[in-house]
């Protein structure tokens, strides 16, 4: 198969690069027969951002092996979810990948909607797409700018964080919170975009590209940055798939797998966008892929804003979607529905459903088993960070400590998603 040849090709590039690096970091174990040092990286090391520990065996500055330990912020999401009515799980999903909470929220809503068989009106779907793509942009922004911080350039981070602040403002206008959004409801959004929100959104879409271009021009072709990131922490497509990579990290390795295209949800089939893919899955590739995805997300937002259909912002599902407040105050039937929904006594069908969305870090899956009760019988989250962080210790072997840190931040491991 031709595929195998190209795979071998990328493999060769990485191997060569590795070898080159080995030669650069000259003294090796065999040369001096030295003892190895054990370096405990984390759990409170500044570069781990979230919390995970790596016990590294070091030969000078070169990493010989690494043992990751995780679970430092394990919060028992799956167990808590078994005790909560469906609508109360949304705040939990907020705290999984907290860099892009809306994607998690919407993913969860869509899972439940799939279970309940609700069709969401087009306008709500487009609104969701806008919010999800905003979330993706800021998620990637934070990852790439943190990569800058970890290579020593703090300033770019603060430049793009201002954009993040502006996105927070939009979130706040739409849902009332900045970070843990609890955005949307099962069956749609909790409220329509206000004119202010739309205006802020349009303004942001117009102003953001300049900042993004500036950010890119600070790093993209800066030799110091390129040297730091190229051929660092590379992974072949074959290995990446074996490790269950998804999202930007897999695309950096050259596989154009994107849930938005493969299994379109929430009207993603209506939008024109490309899937950026890299060549050899190294840190620079991941950086480039994320940057390009920001541009593609911006494209999607522009299209969605342009074609935002008129209509209701939530599904007509009185059993699941809360009636309007005014009706609750005045209408007995609405009040009964209101009580039933809040008490969690909605009739969920028995069944199991797997739904996945393209989260900030890859395929974010929700596997919901319902036994018809008010809470899920079992809810399993496919958390992309948890799955791909396994590969980290293999990816950094043979590289220097600095590379390990750069690799870590370019993989965008979010502790909340890692540990659940």
């Amino acid at each position: 198969m031709a595929v195998n040849d190209t795979l071998a090709g990328t493999h060769k590039i990485i191997e060569e690069a590795r070898e080159q690096q080995h030669n650069q970091l000259i003294p090796t174990v065999n040369d001096f027969n030295q003892e190895l040092t054990t370096l405990n990286l984390g759990p409170t090391h500044p570069a781990t951002h979230g919390i995970f520990q790596n016990i590294l065996q070091m030969d000078g500055e070169r990493i010989v092996s690494g043992v990751p330990t995780i679970g430092y912020i394990h919060r028992a999401f799956e167990k808590i979810a078994e005790r909560r009515p469906l609508y109360q799980i949304t705040p939990l999903t907020d705290r999984m990948n907290y860099c892009s909470s809306p994607i998690n929220n919407m993913g969860w809503h869509m899972t439940v909607e799939k279970l309940l068989g609700i069709t969401v009106p087009k306008r709500a779907q487009y609104m969701r797409v806008i919010m999800m793509e905003l979330a993706r942009i800021v998620d990637h922004l934070i990852c790439n700018s943190i990569l800058g911080v970890d290579t020593g350039a703090f300033t770019g981070f603060l430049y793009v964080f201002q954009e993040r602040e502006k996105v927070y403002e939009i979130y706040e206008e739409v849902c009332g919170a900045r970070l843990t959004t609890n955005m949307g409801r099962i069956g749609g959004m909790e409220r329509d975009f206000t004119p202010v929100a739309l205006e802020k959104l349009r303004k942001w879409v117009k102003e953001f590209p300049a900042v993004m271009r500036e950010f890119q021009s600070m790093f993209d072709r800066n030799r110091i940055f390129m040297d730091r990131t190229q051929y660092v922490g590379g992974i072949t497509a074959e290995k990446a798939l074996n490790y269950g990579f998804t999202g930007p990290n897999l695309r950096a390795a050259g596989v154009d797998y994107d849930v938005r295209v493969m299994n379109p949800y929430s009207s993603y089939q209506d939008f024109e966008f490309d899937i950026p893919v890299g060549t050899n899955g190294d840190t620079y590739d991941r950086y480039l892929v994320r940057n390009e995805e920001i541009w593609q997300s911006l494209r999607i937002i522009e299209q969605a804003l342009e074609n935002l259909p008129e209509g209701p912002y939530h599904a007509d599902a009185p059993h699941y979607y809360l009636p309007p407040k005014q009706a609750v105050y005045q209408n007995m039937e609405a009040l009964i529905y209101h009580f039933k929904i809040i008490m969690g006594e909605i009739e969920a069908p028995v069944g199991e459903v797997y739904h996945s969305v393209e989260g900030g870090n890859g395929e974010l899956g929700f596997y919901l088993i319902s036994d018809g009760g008010r809470t899920p019988y079992r809810l399993h989250f496919r958390r992309p960070c948890f799955i791909y962080y396994q590969a980290y210790s293999e990816m950094v072997v043979g590289q220097s400590l600095s590379d390990a840190i750069v690799t870590l931040s370019s993989m965008n491991v979010i502790a909340g998603e890692l540990d659940a």
Partner: protein, 357 residues
């Protein structure tokens, strides 16, 4: 009139010492404000008007913080490290000529801590001692991150000192002296149109400034203490004023490096049209007063140059990513040193041809 001269000189020494400390103190403030401004922020503004008391607050806080000795550390060396770093940093500013001379009657006061004819050598010797402070501190901490930082600092300083020295040799070839005052004076001779050395030595200057960044452990060469990799590097285990001394030493080193660069390449206390101005003033004020005014303006000039360099140091720090350890070594050994040698040859050739002198 022996004693008064010594007295004056002692005063100058004290002033130089004080200025070094003051500049180092306010460099921390400048760093914060400049970083803030480069990053669209406003920086400290709540400690005193515009936050100018911020460095004092930091200093007082550091002085009253708990002293701490890590388990298994060598206590004597642990204290000795920061002291050495601080002392060497302060010593270096002694030979920098901050101005020409002031004349009071028959007394001539040179605005320089001490005038030695091996000033350049002295600066180099003292500054390169500074790395011992870091090494000792890093080693005595009994912490792997500190040790890694210390090792990085040592190897980095050694390799960059070479290139720095070679860049200097080109300057010395032109000047023929090691005295910083002489070098300064040569860059501007009355009656002749003399350029500052930067014009004659652009390559040398670039090498020198890169090495200066490395010697002072500033980004992009701040590997010994790079936060995201080594937590705090060599000063991870230090608390209270001992850590403050390290931070201080770094800023004094920046100050010294800036001063040396302004002296070597930017004409020190010379400024354009100084002789014309002196002659003009001499007509109305008399020669002595005119010279004194020029000297004071020269002091202003040298400090403007120094502050610009300090600003540049900070500007670069908050802009660039840092190197990786091996890349930094490669840059030092395979690019800067050959370039410096080439620069020496070029300078030699040009001197031989009489293009520069």
């Amino acid at each position: 009139m022996e004693l008064p001269v010594l007295g004056w000189q002692a005063l100058v020494i004290l002033v130089v010492f004080g200025i070094s400390l003051l500049i180092a103190t306010y460099s921390t403030y400048a760093e914060r404000v400049i970083a803030a401004f480069l990053q669209d922020r406003v920086g400290p503004d709540r400690a005193g008007p515009f936050g100018i008391l911020q460095p004092l607050a930091d200093a007082v806080k550091l002085f009253t913080k708990e002293e701490f000795f890590p388990a298994g550390a060598n206590r004597a060396l642990f204290v000795f490290g920061p002291c050495l770093a601080m002392v060497t940093a302060l010593m270096a500013s002694a030979v920098i000529p901050f101005g020409n001379y002031l004349q009071f009657g028959t007394t001539i006061v040179h605005l320089q801590g001490i005038e030695v004819n091996i000033g350049m050598l002295y600066v180099f010797g003292v500054v390169s001692l500074g790395v011992y402070g870091i090494m000792i501190g890093g080693w005595a901490s009994n912490n792997k991150f500190s040790l890694l930082g210390a090792i990085r600092a040592a190897s980095q300083n050694i390799s960059y000192e070479l290139a720095m020295g070679m860049a200097l040799i080109a300057v010395l070839m032109m000047s023929g002296t090691l005295s910083l005052r002489e070098i300064t004076l040569q860059q501007s001779v009355p009656g002749e149109w003399h350029f500052w050395n930067i014009v004659k030595q652009p390559i040398g200057f670039i090498i020198f400034i890169v090495c200066a960044f490395a010697e002072t452990n500033r980004t992009p060469f701040d590997l010994p203490e790079c936060e995201t990799e080594l937590v705090g590097g060599y000063h991870t285990e230090y608390s209270s004023m001992k850590m403050g001394l390290y931070l201080f030493a770094e800023y004094i080193n920046v100050f010294v490096a800036s001063a040396v660069m302004s002296v070597l390449y930017f004409g020190g206390f010379n400024f354009p049209f100084q002789y014309e101005l002196r002659d003009f003033l001499a007509q109305s004020q008399g020669a002595v007063t005119a010279q004194n005014i020029i000297t004071i303006l020269g002091v202003v000039a040298v400090f403007i140059k120094i502050f610009s360099f300090i600003f540049f140091f900070m500007w670069v720090r908050w802009t660039l990513p840092r190197f990786r350890y091996d890349q930094l070594m490669r840059l030092g050994w395979t690019i800067l040193i050959p370039l410096a040698i080439f620069n020496i040859l070029l300078t030699g050739g040009l001197i031989l041809l009489g293009v520069i002198q």
